[in-house]
């Protein structure tokens, strides 16, 4: 019974926590511009993140190492500083996108500029981390995040043609605007394969002292959690395809895209869009801030833990404080959150081989995994998807940045 509750809570938090600035922004733009044409990227990204979270949960359960722990002990500092540096940069950029997304949701709801909202949003995130217990925050915000299921309700209301939706799961020949198509595919992959989710999940698993008897639960939570979570992102893309695309709205900004729920859900549409964006971004910002503290603490051997007071781990607490201050700067400067999000997602994909490659090596090392090393399918799926994403990024990013 207890493990059933654990599985249920794990799946619910994955669903509630799936949508954030990256997945909402990229799904809206993709749906509005290419209708269902990029659903395959979302499916690929989901398969990859499900494999990655399962892997890190397994690493924690068998070896009792977090990903960062294992990387430092397996490769030593002179190698580990590179993936660590890359993850710090990626986490900071994505954190800035989330602060921007939450601030913009409040701008849409109140009419007051996001530059004004950036300070209170950052302070709310910091206060929750500083005064709250992380366990309660993590589950609380993720359960609030179930509001994002309004996108699923909207799709049911809109009644899409399911055969056309299913066709989008198979990559088609690139349309005329190939560069933007590839750039959006990269964005979707970057939003789905979030490195912070991987290290965050593994820290939680080590802290909860998972054992090999938890491997089954780990497999179910990572597959079903990510699978159901991605249904919400798929719903965003379908809703954008049915509402924005026929009206010629390209969703170049969140302001343009905010009408996506107004047609299926009427006067509840805009408030629900704002609530989904704000809560999704807030939840992700909390996890990202913690992740920055986790990865530095685990790399340098500082004290870390979900439920310790700031005075018990001063360096840990000051790390997320400084990270939040830095990440609030783009919003204070008025940088468009959607552009920042697309940029952050592209950078994420470029950094993925550096972040995931060493993990694959560890996952095939019997010293750590004993008889639970990766199988052929897991290795192949992750390597092929990361490889496709990386090559697409190398082709699409220069073209798109030059064009814009």
């Amino acid at each position: 019974m207890k493990s059933l509750v654990k599985v249920g809570l794990g799946i619910l938090t994955s669903i509630g926590g799936f949508l954030e600035a990256g997945s909402i922004g990229t799904a809206l733009q993709a749906g509005a511009t290419f209708r269902y044409g990029l659903l395959w990227a979302l499916a690929l990204g989901t398969i990859c993140i499900a494999f990655l979270t399962e892997m890190t949960g397994r690493l924690a359960a068998v070896s009792h190492h977090t990903v960062i722990d294992a990387m430092r002990t397996r490769f030593g500092v002179s190698f580990q500083v590179w993936p660590l540096g890359a993850q710090v940069i990626v986490d900071l950029l994505v954190l800035a996108s989330e602060i921007g997304g939450a601030s913009l949701a409040l701008e849409l709801a109140t009419g007051v500029s996001l530059r004004v909202w950036a300070v209170p949003v950052t302070l709310i995130i910091w206060s929750l981390l500083w005064f709250g217990t992380f366990n309660a925050i993590e589950h609380g915000v993720a359960l609030l995040g179930l509001v994002t299921l309004c996108f699923v309700v909207a799709v049911i209301e809109l009644g899409p043609e399911w055969r056309a939706v299913a066709a989008g799961l198979i990559p088609q020949r690139a349309p005329a605007d190939g560069a933007q198509y590839a750039y959006l595919a990269v964005g979707i992959l970057g939003a789905s394969i979030s490195p912070y989710l991987v290290s965050f999940y593994s820290s939680g698993a080590v802290e909860e002292e998972w054992k090999t008897s938890d491997l089954g639960m780990n497999r179910v939570v990572s597959a079903l959690g990510m699978g159901f979570g991605s249904l919400v992102a798929i719903s965003v893309m379908i809703a954008a395809a049915l509402v924005l695309a026929p009206r010629g709205i390209t969703a170049d900004s969140y302001q343009q895209a905010a009408t996506v729920l107004s047609i299926p859900l009427g006067r509840w549409g805009l408030p629900l869009f704002c609530a989904s964006l704000a809560i999704g971004c807030l939840g992700a910002a909390l996890e990202l801030s913690l992740d920055l503290s986790y990865i530095l603490a685990q790399s340098f051997g500082w004290e870390w833990g979900e439920n310790k007071r700031p005075a018990e781990e001063a360096r840990f607490a000051l790390t997320y404080t400084i990270a939040l201050a830095l990440a609030s700067v783009p919003s204070l400067a008025g940088i468009d959150p959607l552009r920042l999000t697309m940029f952050s997602m592209a950078i994420t994909v470029v950094a993925l081989p550096l972040l995931v490659g060493p993990l694959i090596v560890v996952m095939n090392d019997k010293e750590y995994l004993k008889r639970h090393t990766n199988g052929f399918i897991t290795n192949a799926a992750v390597i092929v998807i990361i490889g496709v994403a990386f090559v697409l990024a190398l082709l699409a990013i220069p073209v798109q940045w030059l064009a814009s």
Binding site: G76, W130, G301, A314
Partner: protein, 125 residues
């Protein structure tokens, strides 16, 4: 292959997480010091823990830069701490040392300074 009562220095000691006797994390093994003896094989003299040892392994220039910055504007010294191997005791995947970090002035110098001068002055700490 090492026997069960032997330690592989790189695999089992370097970079391993250290904890004090209360289980508190106190850093990682950033370096291993060998003592070279006349006519005898080298012997492990100590485990080294410290930011400068860490930086030196990344690149000697980083260590020089860190040392000069620390001398000018760091509130605490970055001197490494050395532990004899006699304190080594494996507990799970970490190594426990028979020290008390909270009462040992050599340990957690930056952590204690930040706590006293910044964190404890903020509400809710």
């Amino acid at each position: 292959m090492p026997e069960h009562n032997q330690i592989d220095l790189v695999r089992d000691l370097l970079d391993v997480q250290l904890r004090d006797r209360r289980g508190r994390r106190i850093g990682r093994v950033d370096g291993v010091v060998l003592e070279v003896r006349d006519g005898l094989p080298p012997r492990v003299a100590a485990m080294e823990v410290g930011a400068l040892a860490f930086a030196k392994r990344v690149h000697p220039r980083l260590a020089r830069l860190l040392r000069s910055v620390a001398l000018r504007c760091f509130p605490v010294s970055l001197r490494s701490v050395y532990f004899p191997l006699t304190l080594f005791r494996r507990v799970g995947v970490d190594v426990e040392l028979d020290v008390d970090a909270m009462h040992d002035r050599r340990l957690l110098r930056l952590e204690k300074w930040l706590r006293r001068h910044i964190v404890e002055r903020l509400p809710g700490a």
